[in-house]
């Protein structure tokens, strides 16, 4: 019997000894940070994860398009049934969109931090490659913090990957500390990342992108709330570095519409478009990398009109935006849709032309036109999203930032500053026919005669039709531009074209034309006479140029005009569209809206954080 006790005792002892080993299980299904980041391929995947957050639905994938434009004065969200939300300043710290934005940005920061913590794990990997990735991660971290600081004020600075779920009480840093860190990160990155030509695309971070963003960050530092005027020089310096970079060879795209067509077509225009968020595909494969640019902020296209591509169009423009353009400024016709799409299956881009709005209220009901699905080349078009890349930095912006900074530094515009603004204005300016004067009505016309204009540049010739009253030609009106790029088919001329009127059974009718010229776009001396006047020009110019590119709210905040602009617009809309639901989108703005609320999830679980004023 004793033997059995011995046996049992032995079994027990052996089992005790082997227990520890038995209980040490290792995951086989997922990877562990401790055994990763060791090959270039692994670093590549890791780097991709930090970029990934740019296109996440909480940022530029969708919600950024809601949050940063519906909340400014160019347009508003047109779903009247959604009575509460950040877009109409009727929301609180429990808001999902705010939480999504905040979480996503910190998620991106953590991903960048993870890569930064691990990038040098394997020193065998080529230094240059690791530096490039380090630069990209520093820049992205800075960029995510830049969005945070603009919208939430001072936020916790996290410079290492999160490793504990217990020590999570992190206080806010000051706005200045956050900006200083952004500058530090981006300046370090500037030395590490390659030039844009070497990279060959606008999706990856290039020296130009870093420099341009440094100019933007510095301009923000110079404005509200820091108001550190010394930063204008820094802004100017970085912008100038982009302008003077002959290797990169940045230049304005000569055609304003072409910038956005290019973005829709998986092509790059590295001279103009310096940094873009990449979206891709049509979901006909295993990938899901589409975004919502053009779907949510373009003209509406019904689900059946698959050739043009479905667009649910959640956004309207304001009359203020409509009225912001001067005659001759063709950006207006490209930025505001004077057409609609049928729900029937028609050829891509076939439009029903719509006349000019007849009231201020009608302007408030129009759709933005900059983001057009008709130009997409990835077929078939996906009906729940688009592959259109979203621009984060254009060369135009660099020029205007430079002009703005120079104006501040020199207490008035420099010649270069004026020239750059004129360049931008001229690029969008018309060279077509604007007036046709009938000098002789002729006689005997029984039907409308044929009107022919002399040939325009590159075959871009105006077309029009004559109106006959009592056998006389009384007027000649230009045809509509059926592409919707401009309002009229006005042609492209360096000198006024001649008009030939023939047929129609009559004779003797004659007309002369007048055209727009690029030089019409140049600023007047009054506009350049003072620092204040020039700043006003820049402010309006940015409003027109970057509409629906979501820079406006940030601009208004740094200029310190955000509250005033919203209140004014609220009053204006109440006059034009009394009682309309969108009036409140502007009149609801109060001083607390200079910042968004820190989301509840953060406030309740991070005991060291303090809510923004007015949001408790």
């Amino acid at each position: 019997m004793k033997r059995i006790y011995y046996l049992l005792a032995t079994v027990l002892l052996v089992s005790l000894g082997s227990c520890k080993k038995y209980l040490e299980t290792k995951p086989t299904d997922f990877l562990n940070p401790s055994n990763y980041y060791e090959t270039p391929a692994q670093l590549e995947f890791a780097r991709s994860s930090a970029y990934n957050m740019l296109g996440a639905s909480q940022l530029w994938g969708a919600w950024g398009l809601y949050l940063f434009s519906w909340s400014a004065d160019a347009g508003y969200m047109n779903r009247s049934s959604l009575t509460a939300g950040p877009w109409n300043y009727n929301y609180g710290s429990a808001d999902t969109y705010t939480l999504g934005l905040w979480s996503n940005l910190f998620n991106g920061i953590n991903r960048a931090n993870v890569v930064l913590d691990n990038v040098d794990k394997n020193q065998e990997i080529e230094q240059e490659y690791r530096d490039k990735i380090r630069g990209e991660m520093l820049f992205l971290r800075g960029y995510y913090y830049f969005i945070l600081v603009q919208n939430f004020g001072g936020v916790p600075l996290k410079l290492n990957a999160t490793s504990s779920v217990i020590d999570v009480d992190i206080p806010r840093n000051s706005v200045k500390e956050v900006y200083d860190q952004i500058i530090k990160d981006m300046e370090t990155a500037e030395a590490l990342v390659p030039g844009i030509v070497a990279i060959g695309n606008a999706g990856e971070i290039s020296k130009s992108a870093v420099r341009g963003l440094l100019a933007r960050v510095n301009l923000h530092m110079a404005g509200a709330p820091l108001n550190d005027a010394t930063r204008y020089a820094e802004a100017s310096k970085w912008a100038k570095m982009v302008i003077d970079d002959t290797e990169a060879g940045h230049a304005l795209n000569s055609s304003y519409p072409d910038i956005f067509k290019t973005l829709a077509q998986d092509r790059y225009d590295l001279k103009e478009s310096i940094w873009e968020v990449e979206f891709w595909g049509n979901r006909q494969d295993q990938f899901t990398e589409t975004g919502y640019t053009g779907w949510i902020n373009g003209p509406a296209v019904g689900a059946n009109n698959k050739n043009t591509g479905r667009a649910d169009a959640y956004m309207n423009i304001t009359s203020k935006f409509y009225d912001a353009f001067e005659p001759g400024d063709n950006r207006k016709w490209y930025s505001i849709a004077h057409f609609s799409f049928s729900n029937a299956l028609l050829p891509s881009g076939q439009k029903n032309m719509v006349s000019l709005p007849t009231s201020q209220n009608a302007k408030n009901l129009m759709k933005p036109g900059k983001w057009r699905r008709e130009y997409e080349t990835t077929l078939p078009k996906f009906d729940r999203g688009t592959p259109i890349n979203f621009p984060l930095l254009r060369y135009t912006d660099v020029l205007l930032m430079y002009a703005e900074a120079e104006n501040e530094i020199n207490n008035g515009p420099t010649q270069a500053a004026i020239r750059y603004v004129n360049d931008v204005r001229q690029r969008g300016w018309s060279t077509g026919v604007h007036t046709i004067t009938v000098t002789n009505g002729g006689s005997g016309y029984t039907g409308a005669p044929t009107v022919t204009f002399s040939e325009g540049i590159g075959g871009n010739t105006a077309t029009g039709k004559a109106t006959i009253v009592n056998g006389q030609v009384t007027a000649i009106t230009l045809d509509r531009d059926l592409t919707g790029v401009t309002y009229y088919k006005e042609g492209d001329y360096s000198a006024p074209p001649t008009v030939t009127i023939s047929g129609g059974g009559g004779s003797g009718a004659a007309a002369t034309t007048a055209i727009y010229r690029k030089t019409d776009a140049n600023l007047t001396s009054a506009q350049t006479s003072s620092k204040a006047a020039f700043l006003a020009v820049i402010q309006d110019e940015r409003f027109r140029e970057f509409n629906f590119e979501y820079l406006r709210k940030g601009d208004l905040l740094r200029w310190g005009t955000f509250l005033e602009v919203n209140q004014d617009l609220g009053n204006r809309l109440q006059q034009e569209s009394p009682g309309a639901y969108f009036v409140k989108y502007y009149s609801n703005v109060t001083p607390r809206d200079l910042l968004m609320p820190i989301p509840n999830n953060e406030v309740t679980t991070n005991l060291a954080i303090v809510q923004n004023p007015g949001w408790n």
Binding site: L23, P27, N107, R111, Y268, F287, R310
Partner: protein
């Protein structure tokens, strides 16, 4: 079935047997004789007095032994000092001292269901009077009378403290079984199952054949569950399957055929009411005007009145059907003293009451027990279960988008009953095209359901073996080892006629699609116990248990999907022709090693003490080991002399108390590790196909530990008139600390949540059970059981700083805001929203000019702008009196958990007839009837959807009711209110069963030993104020969002006719 009657008759005779034993023992002569003599006798079964063959008769402590002959007789040689032990499986063992006797006749009584019964507990059995913990014995015989495929469907109301509520009535949907209140908020609250000694954390109740269950006990308090340590916190359900008995082979065959009546259709608006509603909803829209176009047969334009005579389509008539079920069981059981065997098989087949839904199960089990020598016994058992569940899951939308038409029932109700001018045949049209918008695709619910190809096939293979070795007569070693392989194969194929695969559905980006996925779980368990039992001086009994066990669990998941499938006709086999998507391949493992000990001290069954301790080591935690102690004591005061004198009518009076600690380990196997996740979609650099991304998806919490549950239990058992009436009452407090909570992290960490040991939860409750033999005479008997349980939980703490844990509703997306709140100091699962106050009436308005109504200054708004509120709009209570109803007016509007639940069982028997009537109830719980959001007022103002008939009674200038708001009077969209919160209390005639055993004399010639016929009904009647189809519903998470009803599959009455024969 035979067994049922034996035990139920034998139940009240047991005290007699005990008395006889005491009598015999007390007459042992003082003169001790040492000569061996021959003892003869007959062993019979009490109370039938039928001779028992095959009874083991043994002289205690020696090798001498025999078995009784066919007529129950035996002969054995023994000394007067010897004790003879009579053993027969299933009957209570008797020990009789020989003394001067030469004839010893013994009547062995059954050992089930009385206070003297032997109760299966963790790693052993104990006589019920000696029990110190709170243990519920499930009346499996009664439960087996319910015409259902799974014990879980018959468990509700059977045992105090065990709350069972259905998710809904879909065949194969497992009900939630919660023992003494949910101990966890975000982790599983399912009890641990131990099936023939094999612990299973995620059992499939529907994979167990109820006929094979011999006994089922539920361990409730910590003293009884502490022996299961880290897995016992949610309670333990011990299931023992039937094993062979010594005797001739007995073949038992039973069959039953049943019908489940189609759920009572909900009354919907008639075509006339529907068209009338559309003219109010969208008077000038073409789809409405189409109803009034030129009608050729009438020769004029159709008018609203014309729709009065049109019948319309009611899709409920096509989607609902009479269900059918059949159950067939066959078993062969028997054995000799050396070998006992049990072989059984069953087929269960159920066609649901919604078309193309159902379940079938094939099951086979073999149990063999073998005596190898006097000291060594061994046994093996094997079980196979194959369960196939098919059809659309009714309470889940087929698509993830929150459109109103995605739920089957909602779609069935809302589908319009009549098309304009009757040009379309709504019944055969694939979709209601005129109603299709970018976010709403209304596919024909009938065609969609018919074309669903969804299969879940579960195959479970269990193998178990044990060996016992009697080291000494007091010490026994037992080793038990088992494996369990469970494989689930899921197969989904969506052709173009289903909403998921429809090519015209704008929400479907996958075209015709499908997927296959397999889960393979492999569990292993080995448990080794040493049992020691010693009685000293006949007064002190010590029982000790030592345990060493190891367990492991492996899961692998594999599968892939195919989208944009080109060849629809190939079905699931053409999956490889499309674009691959959603591939999955994953694996996980966890292991446990455990030591445990239990010590019982029993003084004359008067004072009983139990101490338990378990140490569990789990691979899930970095610090592997956790320690779980428990202690209990009981005092059988009726055994005190003074007590018996003072209260002669009291046959049992026992008080017991226990305290102990348990754990809950239900977290991911590798929750302590940070993990990296690789995804396909990283970033599309250079406008090329995206490269993948890898990121830290979970930060990991190396400090993770068990959830600790401390339970205090105070129990009292009372028996009157020789236990003819018994009462058992328990009071408990169950406190969960270190709650394993999927806690919110500050988003600034870069993560949304992590499992943390944080928060506290408390459950307080009371349980009462009364058993009584109301009438008992030769021909007629009536026995009753009533039990009632009260449980109340309270959230004591959450993640630091967090005051409440909200849970969103899952109705359409605009309602995706908190409906439930678990707030500190309150119960989990409370419903929140506005208090509904009917409608705004004319008296609330100033009529500024004829027909223009402006809300009076003092009257608060409902959240809409003042200028848009009109008479007949919905009205909510402005709690903070600030003039507008906004977030600050949200309050508690309902409780999802009941105040009490219970059951009332009655067994009547008259000669060969027996009747079982079982009622079950739930009281005090509310149900959020989300169906009414859509179908009684059209929450979002969708065009062309039908409504419940009740919405015909809505506010209009002619009918200034408060019952329903006017057309489009829903106020701000997406607000939850008490309007659709309903009292979910119910009393249900859960089971009624009538059985007739044909007298033996008629069946003998057919070599039958038993033949019985029965008819049984389930859910035959329900008394409730709930307006939905079925109040036994909780379609979402049962702890945080209980009592949610939206498009649920109703339980409906089943009636089954059965036949059972033994030969």
């Amino acid at each position: 079935m035979l067994k049922i009657y034996k035990s139920s008759k034998g139940r009240w005779q047991l005290p007699f047997g005990v008395a006889m034993l005491v009598f015999l023992v007390s007459f042992t002569p003082e003169r001790a004789l040492s000569q061996t003599k021959t003892i003869r006798g007959t062993v019979t079964e009490s109370p039938t007095n039928i001779p028992l063959p095959g009874v083991s008769v043994r002289v205690k402590g020696t090798q001498t032994g025999t078995t009784t002959s066919a007529n129950g007789n035996y002969t054995i040689m023994a000394k007067p000092t010897d004790v003879i032990v009579f053993t027969f499986l299933g009957l209570k063992t008797q020990e009789i001292t020989v003394g001067t006797k030469t004839t010893i006749n013994v009547a062995l009584a059954g050992d089930a269901t009385s206070l003297s019964e032997v109760v299966v507990i963790g790693y052993g059995t104990v006589a019920k009077p000696d029990l110190t913990g709170s243990v519920g014995v499930v009346p499996v015989d009664d439960m087996a009378k319910a015409p259902v495929g799974s014990f879980a469907d018959a468990l509700a109301g059977r045992v105090a403290g065990v709350k069972v509520n259905a998710t809904d009535g879909q065949p194969g949907s497992s009900p939630n079984i919660v023992i003494r209140g949910a101990g966890s908020l975000t982790q599983s609250t399912s009890p641990l199952y131990v099936i023939d000694g094999f612990p299973v954390e995620d059992p499939d109740p529907e994979a167990i054949n109820p006929e094979e269950i011999e006994s089922m006990t539920i361990l409730k308090d910590a003293s009884s569950t502490a022996i299961y340590g880290s897995r016992g916190a949610n309670g333990v359900i011990l299931i023992t399957t039937k094993r062979g008995k010594v005797g001739k082979p007995v073949v038992t065959v039973s069959s039953s055929l049943g019908f489940q009546s189609a759920p009572e259709p909900v009354e919907l608006m008639s075509p006339y009411e529907f068209v009338k509603y559309q003219t109010e909803l969208n008077p000038n829209v073409s789809t409405t005007l189409a109803y009034f176009g030129f009608d050729k047969t009438l020769g004029r334009q159709r008018t609203l009145e014309d729709y009065r005579s049109i019948e319309g389509v009611n899709f409920q008539d096509h989607v609902l059907r009479t269900g059918a079920q059949q159950i067939h069981n066959i078993a062969l059981r028997g054995g000799t003293e050396q070998t006992r065997y049990s072989v059984s098989g069953s087929i269960f087949d159920q066609k649901g009451t919604i078309i193309n839904t159902g379940l079938d199960r094939y099951n086979g089990r073999v149990n063999i027990d073998q005596t190898i020598s006097n000291k060594i016994k061994a046994g093996v058992s094997g079980n196979y279960s194959g369960v196939t569940q098919w059809g659309q899951i009714i309470n889940q939308g087929p698509l993830t988008t929150g459109n109103p038409t995605s739920m089957v029932f909602a779609r069935t109700w809302m589908y319009r009953p009549v098309a304009p001018l009757l040009t379309d045949n709504l019944l055969t049209d694939l979709a209601d095209d005129e109603s299709t918008t970018s976010s709403d695709h209304r596919i024909n619910p009938f065609i969609d359901l018919e074309n669903q190809h969804q299969y879940n096939r579960t195959n479970i293979l269990d193998g178990n073996a044990y060996v016992t070795f009697d080291i000494t007569k007091d010490l026994q070693f037992k080793s038990n080892a088992g494996i369990r392989h469970k494989r689930i194969d899921q197969e989904y194929f969506f052709n173009s006629k289903t909403s998921q695969g429809s090519l015209t559905n704008p929400g479907n980006t996958n075209g015709i699609n499908g997927r296959v996925r397999s889960y393979l779980d492999k569990s292993f368990s080995n448990e080794n116990t040493l049992n020691y039992k010693k009685t000293i001086n006949n007064d002190h009994t010590i029982t000790a248990l030592g345990l060493f066990a190891i367990n492991s669990f492996n899961r692998t998941v594999n599968g892939y999907g195919g989208r944009l499938l080109p060849n629809e006709n190939l079905g699931i086999d053409g999956l490889d022709e499309g674009v691959a998507f959603n591939p999955i391949s994953s694996a996980t493992v966890n292991r446990m090693a455990s030591y445990a000990a239990r010590l019982d001290y029993n003084y004359k069954s008067k004072y009983i003490l139990t101490g338990t301790f378990r140490a569990d080591g789990s691979s899930k935690f970095v610090d592997h080991w956790g320690y779980f102690p428990g202690a209990a004591l009981a005092w059988n005061m009726h055994k005190e002399g003074f007590f018996a004198k003072a209260f002669p009518a009291v046959s049992t009076s026992k008080i017991r108390a226990s305290y102990g600690s348990n754990g809950n380990n239900r977290v991911g196997d590798f929750a302590t590790y940070p993990s990296l996740n690789q995804v396909l979609d990283g970033y599309a650099f250079n406008s090329s196909a995206p490269i993948g991304a890898i990121y830290v998806s979970a930060v990991g919490n190396p400090g993770l530990q068990w959830e600790k549950v401390n339970t205090m239990d105070l129990g009292y058992e009372l028996g009157l008139f020789k236990d003819r009436i018994t009462l058992e009452a328990d009071l408990y407090r169950k406190s969960t600390e270190n709650l394993l909570l999927n806690a919110i992290l500050p988003p600034s960490t870069g993560f949304g949540s992590a499992v943390k040991n944080i928060g506290k939860l408390r459950n307080d409750g009371m349980e009462f059970t009364v058993n009584s033999v109301n009438i008992s005479n030769r021909d007629f008997s009536w026995e009753s059981n009533v039990n009632i349980s009260f449980n109340k939980n309270k959230v004591m703490a959450l993640t630091r700083g967090q005051q409440s844990l909200p849970t969103n509703a899952t109705y359409v997306s605009q309602f995706n805001r908190p409906l439930y709140l678990a707030e500190i100091g309150k119960s989990a699962g409370m419903m929140i929203g506005y208090i509904w106050e009917g409608n705004y009436q004319y008296s609330d308005f100033d009529e500024t000019s004829p027909g223009v109504y402006v809300l009076k200054p003092g009257v608060p708004t409902n959240g809409n702008a003042r200028n848009v509120i009109q008479p007949g709009d919905i009205k909510y209570r402005d709690l903070d009196k600030d003039g507008t109803v906004d977030d600050s007016d949200i309050t508690f509007i309902g409780r999802g958990t009941p105040i009490h639940t219970g059951g009332f069982a009655n067994n009547f028997s008259y000669k060969g007839l027996s009747l079982n009537v079982f009622l079950q109830w739930s009281y005090g719980n509310d149900i959020y009837n989300a169906n009414r959001l859509l179908l009684e007022g059209n929450s979002n103002g969708y065009a062309l959807i039908n409504q419940f008939a009740s919405y015909a009674n809505r506010w209009s200038p002619e009918n200034q009711t408060n019952a329903n708001y006017r057309t489009r009077g829903q106020g701000p969209i997406g607000k939850h209110s008490s309007r659709v919160v309903e009292d979910g209390s119910y009393l249900r005639l859960k089971t009624i069963s009538l059985n007739y055993s044909i007298p033996t004399r008629f069946i003998k010639r057919a070599y039958l030993s038993n033949l019985s016929l029965n008819v049984a009904a389930q859910n035959l009647a329900t008394w409730t104020n709930y307006s939905g189809m079925d109040p036994d519903v909780s379609a979402r998470n049962n702890v945080l969002s209980p009592g949610y009803d939206y498009s649920s599959y109703p339980n409906s009455p089943t009636i089954a006719f059965g036949l059972k024969a033994s030969f």
